[in-house]
């Protein structure tokens, strides 16, 4: 009986030790993964900021103005002026669309109530 107790205790200790080490390794792994991800996030952030800077650089007003002037033949872009504002009545009114209406086939029940009654003088 006693030896069983000893063996059980020993096995418990071994089991707990295994569990503790396992948890420890899992934690270490998670920490490693986190720091790796954070490094990746950092690198992505740098990339993103470079891309945003590049986007801003390529879209700087000076360059866009020059491009609009160079491609005037094709694009015909001009600086916005007051005369470019249009009025609502310059826009063609859209024609009504009838496609979705089926031809009427069912009989229309018009009210004939009291039609055959004689009119009271």
């Amino acid at each position: 009986m006693r030896s069983i107790l000893y063996v059980m205790t020993a096995l418990t200790v071994i089991g707990l030790a295994f569990w503790a080490y396992h948890e420890n390794y899992k934690t270490q792994e998670a920490i490693e993964k986190t720091s790796k991800l954070q490094r990746e996030i950092g690198a992505a952030r740098v990339r993103l900021s470079v891309l945003r800077a590049e986007w801003a650089y390529l879209n700087r007003p000076d360059r866009l103005r020059d491009l609009a002037e160079l491609n005037f033949d094709r694009l015909g872009l001009l600086p916005l002026r007051p005369r470019h504002f249009g009025n609502v009545d310059q826009v063609a009114f859209p024609l009504p669309v009838f496609d979705d209406l089926e031809p009427i086939t069912n009989p229309i029940a018009t009210s004939s109530q009291g039609a055959d009654q004689e009119q009271q003088p």
Partner: protein
């Protein structure tokens, strides 16, 4: 185990027969048994010792291996936890009101040298000279061969330059990571942004510090890690700024001015939508400050906030507004304008002779100095002083620019009655165009002060009341007539559909040693548009404009600043989303009384 009996009967009986002592047999047997026990115990002890030895050996081996490993590897702190979100230690971006980037960061490299590690210092110097033509090769050679252990060569390298330096293959040339500030729009809004420099510099990093403009004013905010890299949102609109700078540049060239500034402000919130000052500079490569007495020749000079000048007749509307606010006059009250008005040794003259008397409206429309001086006399020095102080002309403007902190308006040391009269038409008190724009915003929004700001606001931000709603409305009607009336000084400023109202101002430029230049002026046009629904204030100032027009050399604001401002309104108003509208008829109720 069968134990050998100590006294085996057979042997005892034998021994007795032979007459021997049987105890000897027992002792002999005990001895043998003890020897056997001893041998057994020794063997067991030896085994235990061996086991213990092996265990110790293993334990020491583990420790030795671990120690060896620790000694051979790089030390790291043991970690039981990891930090959640990473701290963004970068300087925050600056964006415009629509989120477009005005300033951001870039990771580049710096180049430094360890001359003692160099193998071919002379060749390295030659090669560096080829990559960077601005470096002094002879000086580099001297320094590479000296006893120095460390020297900086370049603070910023582009990736191409870095590769070229790398290709030299010199182990004594080293790179360090470095963050630099990038202004992708170049010179656009340069005076707002300011510039940057490096603070404490190390091989691994360097502090990026703002040196001017909003970069310096909000340096702490931009560097605050608690903001987690949230960008600083400005009230500036990139599109408006670009258009304003383009128009202003064209206007400055046509008018032959040596400098120009334009401020577009939202009259209800005090937000500055565009602030242009020319000549400008590229904040990516900020020039050195100018030497000498006159800072205004440097492109770094921000005319909008640092250009403290007498702003001339643009001030007249304040005298008229105050007189109407106090109930002294109404727009139709006749004012005596017979001149010249002599006060001590000083004489106040008008640009032309406008007759004997004019209504207050006409005084403003024709810009009569004498008429305004008479109004100021009626108001009195104390009340005028209080009014101008409320309008912010006594203090530096609170705008978020480092330069503004030192640009204090110049007030007369002794506010005499003569000062009262001259200040009423804009002489004797110097302020910046931004001061003027702020005061005009109060006229535009119905008499409430606003705080000029470069940071994006949510909705109107009206402050203290400085004049009554009706006085502001009457002043706006006068400003409209200055532009729309045939005799108005700003008749070139009428932009169809936008109902511009404003006041011109032409002030002689002061000489550095006192007195005024005869042929150099500051021409200003302060305007409000659309006047029937005032939303925006635009102030355009040209420094020393001159143009040949209609047969003579013109310098007055009506011929110089006004056409530039009109062109600017025509370009900017559509960008602000304002449709051209027909002015409502209500303003016609205020009619000019003919003389």
């Amino acid at each position: 185990m069968i134990r050998t009996p100590l006294r085996p009967l057979a042997r005892i009986l034998d021994a007795r027969q032979r007459g021997e002592n049987p105890d000897a047999i027992e002792r002999e047997n005990i001895r043998l048994r003890h020897e056997e026990m001893r041998d057994r115990l020794r063997l067991r002890a030896e085994q235990r010792l061996l086991l213990l030895g092996i265990m110790y050996f293993c334990a020491f081996l583990v420790i030795a291996v671990r120690m060896g490993g620790l000694a051979a590897s790089e030390a790291t702190e043991p970690r039981a936890a990891t930090n959640g979100a990473s701290i963004v230690a970068q300087r925050a971006d600056i964006v415009d009101r629509k989120g477009r980037i005005l300033a951001t960061n870039m990771e580049v490299h710096s180049l430094y040298a360890h001359p003692h590690q160099m193998i071919e210092p002379l060749r390295a110097a030659e090669e560096l000279g080829k990559i960077f033509p601005e470096l002094d090769v002879a000086d580099l050679k001297k320094r590479f061969t000296s006893d120095r252990k460390f020297m900086w060569i370049r603070k910023k390298l582009s990736p191409e330059q870095k590769q070229a330096v790398h290709d030299i293959g010199e182990p004594g040339l080293l790179f360090g990571p470095r963050e630099m500030r990038l202004y992708p729009n170049g010179a656009l809004a340069a005076h707002v942004l300011g510039g940057y420099g490096f603070g404490r510099e190390g091989v691994h990093s360097a502090e990026v510090l703002g040196t001017a403009g909003i970069e310096k004013f909000h340096d702490d905010l931009l560097r605050d890690p608690a903001r987690e890299g949230a960008p600083l949102e400005l009230s500036i609109d990139l599109t408006l700024q670009a258009a304003a700078e383009k128009v202003l540049y064209g206007g400055m060239k046509i008018m032959g001015a040596k400098g120009a500034t334009a401020i577009l402000m939202d009259a209800n919130s005090g937000e500055i939508l565009s602030l242009a000052s020319l000549p400008d500079f590229d904040p990516n490569d900020r020039p050195l400050p100018a030497l000498g007495d006159d800072p205004s020749i440097s492109p770094l000079f921000n005319r909008a906030v640092q250009g403290v000048y007498e702003l001339g007749s643009t001030f007249k509307i304040f005298a008229a507004a105050q007189a109407m606010d106090l109930g002294i006059v109404n727009p139709n009250t006749m004012v005596d304008i017979r001149g010249p008005l002599t006060w001590g040794r000083h004489r106040i003259r008008d640009f032309h002779n406008y007759g004997k008397e004019l209504s207050v409206t006409k005084v403003i429309v024709k810009s009569s100095n004498i008429g305004t001086a008479r109004l100021a006399q009626m108001i009195g020095a104390d009340r005028q002083k209080t009014f101008l102080e409320k309008l912010g002309f006594f203090d530096v403007t609170p705008v978020e620019l480092q330069e503004a902190k030192r640009a204090k308006p110049l007030l007369p040391p002794n506010w005499s009655e003569l000062s009262t009269m001259t200040i009423s038409y804009g002489h004797g008190l110097s302020a910046s165009p931004l001061h003027l724009a702020t005061a005009y915003a109060a006229v535009a929004n119905g008499g409430r002060m606003v705080t000029p700001t470069l940071l994006r606001q949510n909705g109107p931000n009206l402050g203290e009341r400085v004049m009554s709603e009706s006085a502001a409305a009457a002043s706006r009607a006068m400003l409209r007539l200055v532009v729309s009336h045939d005799e108005g000084t700003a008749s070139f400023g009428d932009v169809r559909g936008y109902a511009v109202g404003g006041k011109t101002g032409t002030a002689d430029k002061p000489m550095p040693k006192g007195g005024y230049y005869k042929d150099k002026v500051i021409a200003t046009f302060a305007s409000i548009f659309p006047i029937h629904d005032p939303k925006y204030v635009l102030v355009v100032t040209l420094d020393e404009p001159e143009i040949h027009a209609a047969g003579e050399l013109r310098r007055t604001a009506g011929w110089t600043a006004v056409p530039v401002a009109a062109e600017m309104i025509e370009r900017l108003a559509p960008l602000l989303g304002l449709r051209p509208t027909i002015e409502p008829d209500t303003l016609a109720g205020i009619t000019l009384t003919s003389q």
